[in-house]
C-alpha cells in the first residue's frame, strides 16, 4: 500500500507521444539516475515527471483537432495519382477549394516571382519587368499595385501583410500595404534573393554581389554583412527551425550561415554545376537541392548526410520546395513534379519519375505542365492544399491534396485573424523578438549547460589544480627558456626570447628573463674561470653569498 502511495501519478503511454517529444528531453538520457545528490536527484525527477505529463497531455489533445489532412489515393493498381490532371481534381473537390485554384494570366510583365504571407491570406507577386502587386487572393482584393519600371528580382512579405520588401534593379526597397515606399535599403545592392526571418525580424538578402546581408527591420540596423567569397548567390532559403540561411552557389556548394559568424557554419558539396534551388522542411530535418548538372539531392541536415541522389533528370531542375507535410515539389522548365514521402533514408522513398514496372518505387505523387511557360518559383500555401507557382505566364495555384497542415495554431499564425488580432500579434512577436546573434544550428541550446566550458567539464579540484599549476610554472620560470651556461652567449635561448619580444614593452616576464640572463652570464663566467684553472670547482664566494639575500 505504501508503495502505491509513494508512486508518481501514472502517465498513460500513448501511440502518438513521439510526435510531442522534444529532442533535448531529460528523460532520454536519464541524467538524474546517475546523480548521487539526493536533493538534486529529486528535483530532476520532478522536472522529468512534469515534462512527461506535459507531453502526455499534449498528445491526448491531438484527437480534438478539428480538421483532417487531405489526400489523393488511387483505388486500384491501374490508377496512378500522377496521371490526375488539375481539371479532374477541380471537378472532384468542393467549390470553395476549386475557387482557390487561382490562375492569373499576366503575360506582359512576367516571369513572376510569388510570395505568400505567413498565414497564407495574402499573395505578393513580382514580375521581372517591374509589376508588383499585393492582394488578398481569396477575396480577390488588390491591396497594392506598383509599376516600378525597373527589373524586379524578388519580393517578400515582412512580419505580416502590412509591409513587403522588393529586390529591384540596384537596391532593395520596403513598401507598406498600400504600396508607399518606406525605405530604400541602399546597403543591399543588386539583390536577387530575399528571406525574412520572422522570429528575429531580420531581412536577409543575397545576390550578385556575393554578400549575405541581414537587416533588422525593427531598428533599421544592418546586423551583419557576410562575404561569401563564392560569387553571385543563385539560390537561397531559410531553415524555418533554426533561422540558418542556406545559400546555393555556382560552384555547386550549399553554405549555411548565421549572422554572428563571418564564415559559413557548414559547406555541402551538392552539385557538380551551379546550385539552382534549395528547400528545407519545416522542422529543419531535410534539405533538397537541385543543380544545373541535372541532379537533385536530398540531405539529412541534422548530420549532413546525403539520403538520395538523383542524377540525370530529363532537364535540369530550376527549383525545389517542401510542404509542411513533406511533399517535395521540383520544377524543371515548364514541368512541376511532386513526390510524397521522399524525405526518408529508406530505399523505397527515393523519388523516381516512373515505376519501370517495379512495385516498390516512389513514383511522382502529381505532375503538372505549364506549356510554354517556365516556372520561376514555387511556394506551398501555408495551411492549404495548394502549391503557388510563379511562371512566365502569370501565377497559378495547383491543388495538391495532402500538402498542407490541416490544423493551424491560432496563437502562432492565424489565417483567419482580424485586424485587431493582427496588431496584438505584432506587438507580442516584437516583445518576443530573438536577438540576431542567438542564431545557431541548435535552436534549443539556450538554457542548457555548455558541456565544453571548463567550469562544467572539470571539477572544482581540477580547476584549482590547473590554476595552481600555472602559478607554480610562473614561479619556476617554466614559461621562459631554461638557463644554459654551456651555450654561447649569442646562442642563448633567453636572448632569442628577449629579441622576439617588443623592445619597448617592459612587463613582469621580461624582467624575469633579464634576471635569468644575468644568472646565466654569471654561471658562464664562472665556468670559464674554472676551465682556466683560476678558480676551484667547489669555490664559494662567501661574501657574495651572504649579500645575495639582499639582491
Amino acid at each position: 500500500m505504501s508503495k502505491g502511495l509513494k508512486s508518481q501519478p501514472v502517465v498513460k503511454k500513448r501511440d502518438n507521444i513521439e510526435k510531442f517529444e522534444r529532442n533535448n528531453a531529460l528523460s532520454k538520457n536519464s541524467q538524474y539516475r546517475k546523480t548521487k545528490d539526493k536533493k538534486l536527484k529529486a528535483g530532476l525527477k520532478r522536472i522529468d515527471q512534469k515534462y512527461k505529463n506535459a507531453v502526455s497531455s499534449a498528445a491526448s489533445t491531438e484527437y480534438l483537432l478539428p480538421e483532417t489532412r487531405g489526400f489523393l489515393e488511387a483505388e486500384d493498381e491501374m490508377e496512378k495519382t500522377f496521371k490526375v490532371t488539375q481539371a479532374e481534381i477541380k471537378d472532384a473537390v468542393d467549390v470553395s477549394t476549386a475557387q482557390n485554384a487561382l490562375n492569373l494570366k499576366l503575360k506582359e510583365f512576367g516571369p513572376y516571382h510569388i510570395n505568400y504571407s505567413r498565414n497564407g491570406r495574402n499573395l505578393l507577386i513580382c514580375g521581372r519587368k517591374g509589376h508588383v502587386a499585393s492582394m488578398d487572393w481569396r477575396k480577390g482584393e488588390l491591396r497594392a499595385e506598383l509599376h516600378l519600371n525597373e527589373t524586379c528580382h524578388a519580393a517578400t512579405y515582412l512580419q505580416n501583410e502590412q509591409y513587403f520588401a522588393v529586390a529591384q534593379k540596384k537596391y532593395a526597397f520596403i513598401y507598406d500595404h498600400e504600396g508607399i515606399e518606406l525605405h530604400r535599403l541602399k546597403q543591399h545592392i543588386e539583390v536577387t534573393q530575399m528571406e525574412f526571418l520572422p522570429y528575429h525580424y531580420l531581412l536577409a538578402t543575397a545576390g550578385r554581389s556575393g554578400f549575405l546581408k541581414y537587416q533588422d527591420v525593427t531598428t533599421g540596423q544592418l546586423v551583419a554583412e557576410l562575404r561569401t567569397k563564392l560569387g553571385p548567390t543563385l539560390a537561397m532559403t531559410q531553415n524555418p527551425w533554426n533561422a540558418i540561411v542556406h545559400l546555393g552557389h555556382s560552384n555547386g556548394t550549399v553554405t549555411l550561415w548565421a549572422p554572428n559568424m563571418p564564415t559559413p557554419l557548414a559547406r555541402l558539396l551538392s552539385a557538380r554545376g551551379p546550385v539552382t534551388g534549395v528547400a528545407i522542411d519545416r522542422q529543419g530535418y531535410y534539405m533538397a537541392t537541385t543543380g544545373a548538372d541535372k541532379s537533385m539531392k536530398i540531405w539529412d541536415i541534422r548530420n549532413f548526410r546525403e539520403l538520395h541522389n538523383l542524377e540525370n533528370l530529363p532537364t535540369p531542375g530550376s527549383g525545389v520546395t517542401i510542404s509542411d507535410t513533406g511533399v517535395l515539389a521540383l520544377s524543371r522548365g515548364p514541368h512541376v513534379t511532386l513526390w510524397k514521402g521522399a524525405l526518408s533514408s529508406a530505399k523505397s522513398s527515393r523519388p523516381y519519375f516512373g515505376s519501370s514496372g517495379l512495385a516498390d518505387r516512389n513514383t511522382p505523387y502529381m505532375t503538372h505542365l505549364f506549356a510554354g511557360n517556365k516556372v520561376t518559383n514555387m511556394q506551398f500555401v501555408p495551411f492549404e492544399d495548394l502549391l503557388g507557382v510563379g511562371h512566365s505566364g502569370g501565377v497559378t495555384n495547383l491543388i495538391v491534396p495532402g500538402a498542407g497542415e490541416a490544423n493551424y495554431d491560432a496563437l502562432e499564425i492565424n489565417p483567419f485573424e482580424t485586424a485587431k488580432q493582427r496588431q496584438e500579434q505584432e506587438v507580442r512577436t516584437l516583445l518576443n523578438k530573438l536577438p540576431a546573434d542567438s542564431i545557431s544550428l541548435d535552436p534549443d541550446m539556450i538554457g542548457t549547460v555548455e558541456k565544453r566550458a571548463s567550469s562544467a567539464r572539470l571539477t572544482a579540484r581540477d580547476l584549482a589544480e590547473i590554476t595552481t599549476q600555472k602559478e607554480r610554472d610562473l614561479k619556476n620560470n617554466k614559461d621562459i627558456p631554461a638557463v644554459k651556461p654551456e651555450t654561447k652567449s649569442k646562442n642563448s635561448g633567453l636572448r632569442a626570447f628577449l629579441r622576439k619580444k617588443n623592445q619597448n614593452v617592459i612587463d613582469e616576464r621580461k624582467l624575469r628573463v633579464e634576471k635569468q640572463l644575468e644568472k646565466e652570464k654569471a654561471a658562464r663566467q664562472r665556468k670559464e674561470l674554472v676551465k682556466r684553472g683560476e678558480q676551484a670547482e667547489d669555490h664559494k664566494d662567501l661574501v657574495s653569498e651572504a649579500l645575495s639575500r639582499f639582491s
Binding site: K19, F20, R22, N24, A58, T61, E62, L65, P66, E67, T68, G70, F71, L72, E73, A74, E75, E79, T81, V84, I89, A92, V93, D94, S96, T97, Y199, P240, W241, N242, A243, R282, Q283, F383, E384, D385, P401, G404, E405, A406, N407, Y408, D409, A410, L411, E412, N414, P415, F416, T418, Q421, L431, N432, K433, L434, S438, P443, D444, I446, G447
Partner: protein, 476 residues
C-alpha cells in the same frame, strides 16, 4: 480516385456577430512552434525586467509615526489590519494598517517601553475588542484595552493618559520583554528574571530563571503554546517548557542574540537575529548546529520575523536596511532601505504575508511590500494568468546569467556597499590566516559555518556516529 482537400469553412472560424469571440484553435504539435525554448527565454527575460521595473517596495508610513525611536512592534495575530507600536518615550500606539491611521495612543510608561504584545482574541471578551500588554523600564506591566468605546476623545491631545488602562502589574525590576501564551491567560516577562504571570493575578506565578543574567527577549511558540524561548545578555538562547515548569536547553552564542521568532509552519524551528551580522535558523530538537545561516547584513541584526507562510524571513539591521531571505537560501533576495530610515529595530510581517512593517530609530513606522513588484489591486483573470505564467518562467530560467544578473541587482546605500567591501576583506584575511595555520597544524579541527557561532550548550547532543564509536569501544 479518392480525393479530399483541406476545406475550411470561414463560418466555422470567423465570428458571425461582432459580439462573438473568434475561434482560436490550438495545435500543440512542436513542429508548429519553432524556437519554443528561445522565445520562452526571451519572455522570461522580459518578465524579469518588468519585475524590476515594477519594484516599488515602499508603501507608506503609519500616520505621523512616533516622536522617538520605535523599539517595539506587536502583531495582532487575529486581525489582518491592526498593529501596535511603542517608542522610547513611553508611548504605545495602535494602528489601522488599512487606512494607516492611529486608532489609539497611550502614554504607557515612564521611560522606554521594552515589550508589547496583543493578547489573544478569546481572552478579551467580545469579538471586536482587543487588549494588549506593555512593559517598561518603570517596573510595570500594563494591560490596555484598545476597544474604541473605552476612549472617545483622542482627537486634540492625541495622547491618552490611561483611558484604556485596565490593569497594572508591578514587578521588582525593569522588564525587558513580554509575550503572551497563545491560548491560556498566561504571559511571560523578561528582565533580571524571567517570570510567568497570570492575567488574573497581580503577582508572578513562577520564576523560570536559569542563571543570573538579563533576559532581553521572550517568545512563546505559537503552535505548541507551552514552549517558549528566551535570549539574554549572556549571549544565551534558552528553551523552556511550561508543562514541566523547567528550562530544557541552553546554548551560548559567541555574540549577543537580539531577537528571535518561531516558524509558524514548522513549530520546532526558530530563527534568531544575532549581533554578529547574521541571522540563524535552529531546530529546537538539535541545537548543536544551525540549520541555516543568513548572511549579507553588514551590522548587527536587530530583529527577525517569519512570514506566516513559513518560507521567508525578514530581518532588520543596525546598518539601516531591511532584508528578506528565503528560508532555504543563505543570501537575501531583497534589500530595502530609504534615505531617511535609521537603524531598524523592529520588522514584522503582516498576517497576510503581503506586507512588512518596520520600526526604526527615526520614529517612523514604515509599511513595505513583501514582494516589491506585486500590486494588491483587483486583477482580471487574464492579468492573473499572465503574472502566474511570468512567475513560472522566471523560476525556470533563473540560473541564466543575464536573468540572474538583472533579478539580483539591488541598489545598496554607499555606506552599506563600502562596509560590504571592508567586511569581505576582513573575512578573507581571517580565512587566509586560518588556512595558513592549518598548513602547519594538520590536526586543526574544521568547524562548519553552521557551528561557528555556538560557544557551548548545556545538554550534549549525541552524535550518532560518536555513539556507535563509543559502543564499539565499550565492547572492546
Amino acid at each position: 480516385m479518392k480525393i479530399k482537400t483541406i476545406s475550411r469553412s470561414a463560418d466555422d472560424y470567423v465570428p458571425v456577430k461582432s459580439t462573438q469571440e473568434s475561434q482560436l484553435p490550438r495545435n500543440l504539435d512542436p513542429a508548429l512552434h519553432p524556437f519554443e525554448r528561445a522565445r520562452e527565454y526571451t519572455r522570461a527575460l522580459n518578465a524579469t525586467k518588468m519585475e524590476r521595473m515594477f519594484a516599488k517596495p515602499f508603501v507608506g508610513q503609519m500616520g505621523h509615526g512616533h516622536r522617538d525611536g520605535v523599539y517595539v512592534i506587536a502583531k495582532n495575530y487575529n486581525v489582518l489590519n491592526k498593529l501596535a507600536t511603542a517608542s522610547a518615550d513611553g508611548i504605545v500606539k495602535y494602528w489601522n494598517m488599512g487606512t494607516r491611521e492611529e486608532l489609539a495612543s497611550f502614554r504607557a510608561h515612564y521611560g522606554l517601553v521594552t515589550g508589547l504584545c496583543v493578547t489573544p482574541q478569546h481572552l478579551s471578551g467580545s469579538k471586536n475588542s482587543n487588549q494588549m500588554l506593555s512593559c517598561g523600564d518603570d517596573r510595570t506591566v500594563k494591560l490596555w484595552s484598545v476597544n474604541s468605546d473605552d476612549f472617545a476623545h483622542t482627537d486634540e491631545a492625541n495622547v491618552n493618559n490611561g483611558d484604556g488602562l485596565l490593569k497594572t502589574f508591578r514587578g521588582e525590576f525593569a522588564f525587558q520583554g513580554i509575550d503572551h501564551h497563545r491560548t491560556k491567560a498566561n504571559f511571560v516577562t523578561g528582565g533580571a528574571k524571567i517570570q510567568l504571570w497570570d492575567l488574573n493575578r497581580s503577582r508572578p506565578l513562577e520564576d523560570l530563571s536559569w542563571g543570573a543574567d538579563n533576559v532581553s527577549t521572550v517568545k512563546f511558540n505559537q503552535n505548541e503554546g507551552d514552549v517558549l524561548a528566551s535570549a539574554g545578555s549572556d549571549n544565551s538562547i534558552v528553551l523552556y517548557d511550561l508543562r514541566t515548569n523547567s528550562a530544557t536547553q541552553k546554548i551560548i552564542h559567541s555574540m549577543r542574540v537580539n531577537n528571535m521568532c518561531w516558524n509558524p509552519m514548522e513549530p520546532f524551528n526558530f530563527a534568531v537575529a544575532s549581533e554578529d551580522h547574521n541571522a540563524y535558523y535552529y531546530d529546537m530538537r538539535n541545537m548543536s548546529r544551525a540549520l541555516h545561516v543568513f548572511k549579507d547584513h553588514v551590522s548587527a541584526v536587530m530583529d527577525v520575523d517569519f512570514s506566516p507562510t513559513g518560507d521567508e524571513i525578514v530581518t532588520g539591521s543596525y546598518d539601516k536596511t531591511i532584508r528578506i531571505y528565503q528560508v532555504k537560501h543563505g543570501h537575501s533576495r531583497e534589500l530595502y532601505h530609504t534615505k531617511r530610515m535609521q537603524h531598524v529595530f523592529q520588522v514584522k510581517y503582516t498576517m497576510d504575508s503581503k506586507y512588512i512593517v518596520s520600526g526604526s530609530d527615526d520614529g517612523n513606522v514604515r509599511l513595505w511590500r513583501a514582494k516589491a513588484w506585486e500590486r494588491s489591486s483587483v486583477k482580471s483573470m487574464r492579468e492573473k494568468n499572465k503574472l502566474e505564467y511570468d512567475e513560472k518562467l522566471k523560476e525556470r530560467f533563473k540560473f541564466m546569467p543575464e536573468i540572474r544578473r538583472i533579478s539580483r541587482h539591488r541598489h545598496a546605500p554607499k555606506v552599506v556597499k563600502k562596509a560590504q567591501e571592508i567586511k569581505q576583506v576582513e573575512l578573507n584575511s581571517i580565512k587566509r590566516r586560518e588556512t595558513n595555520e592549518r598548513r602547519t597544524r594538520r590536526d586543526m579541527e574544521f568547524v562548519p559555518e553552521r557551528k561557528k557561532q555556538i560557544v557551548g550548550f548545556v545538554h550534549e547532543y549525541k552524535n550518532r556516529k560518536d555513539e556507535s564509536k563509543t559502543n564499539d569501544s565499550d565492547e572492546e
